[in-house]
């Protein structure tokens, strides 16, 4: 028997979630309709609500319900420091360190030439406007240490240095509490290349 068309549409819609193929989507759809219609109602309402109320923070580009997010409007943060990260998850990780008192800019991606992701796709123009607001004195590039993250950091660095802003890059090397014997060779090699004088 062919499933009804709205069921088919639901299955198709669920497939937009990451890691959900046709089989999982079908299982989810049957589950929602058969065992958890309340849950389905809630899911439907909260997706609608989120889509309507969540937008990008005018300052840091991350998700917020207000014009400017809580972190960006906090008076306790040092507005002269701006850390550039790739994703909101990276921002949370930085926050957990309690080591960074400044503000953030979230790129929501990285330059990835092979995937066709260029400067226009990661809002470099918005970052430029944010970093040249007259208050920011130092931009700290905290993109990933992948090739894509490095390329992103390089070009942001060039763009901002050309406009007289101090730019720094977070350091990399042997992890805190790490023993050389168990560190991977690539990390150790880079730590030797980037050694610093004592």
């Amino acid at each position: 028997m062919k499933p009804p068309s709205s069921l088919e549409a639901l299955i198709e819609a669920l497939r937009c979630l990451p890691g959900v193929g046709p089989k999982s989507a079908q299982r989810m759809a049957y589950h929602l309709l058969q065992y958890d219609r309340d849950g389905a109602q809630k899911l439907c309402a909260s997706i609608g609500q989120a889509l309507q109320s969540i937008r990008r923070c005018a300052k840091c580009n991350s998700f917020t319900e207000d014009e400017i997010c809580a972190l960006c409007s906090s008076p306790r943060r040092d507005a002269a420091l701006l850390a550039v990260v790739e994703t909101p998850a990276d921002l949370l990780m930085m926050e957990q360190t309690l080591a960074f008192p400044g503000m953030y800019f979230v790129l929501m991606g990285r330059l990835s030439p092979l995937d066709g992701i260029g400067p226009k796709d990661i809002g470099l123009d918005r970052l430029l406007a944010r970093a040249t607001d007259g208050v920011v004195r130092e931009v700290i590039l905290a993109t990933n240490f992948t090739n894509e993250g490095e390329a992103t950091a390089h070009y942001i660095g060039e763009m901002l240095r050309g406009r007289g802003i101090k730019v720094s890059r977070i350091a990399r090397g042997v992890p805190v509490g790490g023993e050389l014997e168990y560190v991977d060779s690539g990390t150790l090699a880079q730590a030797v290349v980037e050694r610093r004088p004592l």
Partner: protein, 240 residues
Amino acid sequence: MSTRARQDNQLGYVLHTYPFRETSLVVETFTRAHGRVGMVARGAKRPRSALRGSIMAFQPLGLSWSGRGELRLLLRAEWQGGQPRLQGRALLCGFYLNELLLKLLPREDAHEQLFLDYQTALARLGEEAEPGAVLRRFEKALLRELGYALALDRDSASGAQIEPQGSYAYEPERGPVSINGGAPAGLVLSGRTLLDIVRDDYRDPQTLQQAKALMRLLISHRLEQKPLNSRRIFEELQQL
């Protein structure tokens, strides 16, 4: 084509990766003995995966895999070292080389000479300030490996030797043809440029500039005009 399913510690490079299922990656590699091989790195996105740190482009790796299908199963990727990390503009050039290989080289076709050319190009990109000559040498090597013998030292209409002082119109399927008076359509190159490219000598700025235009024409022709992302993004970044 390999006959054995399992391969151990094969020298190769990661060209590109993309997400596959929840925690896995599809890894496109270029290996010395087997050419381009596609693999799945299972669980490579998990925090403690042994593959996580080593699956990185532009670094020589010892790759082990098994399976026979379109996508093999990547078992190990061991760091070999010796290649300094590419930075800045050199990194963008590296992405360009990888995109060329991904778009032009068919899978499972060994190209040992091209592999050596790729290694040389990466090493030079890490050392040299001006990447132009490095890219032109690699593009020429790639076209040669793809079976597109570059016609450079003879006029394809008359068969005469190229004169350094002459001007030649170049068409991809034809080669250089001497221009006698008439205004030609398409790319015009000096005889000197053609002879310099034969010798891989890119010291002359005009040669470098014309060689770039020629390689761009020939590569677009091979790609059937499909655009190259890395080239577009490089141009966008220049405007920042």
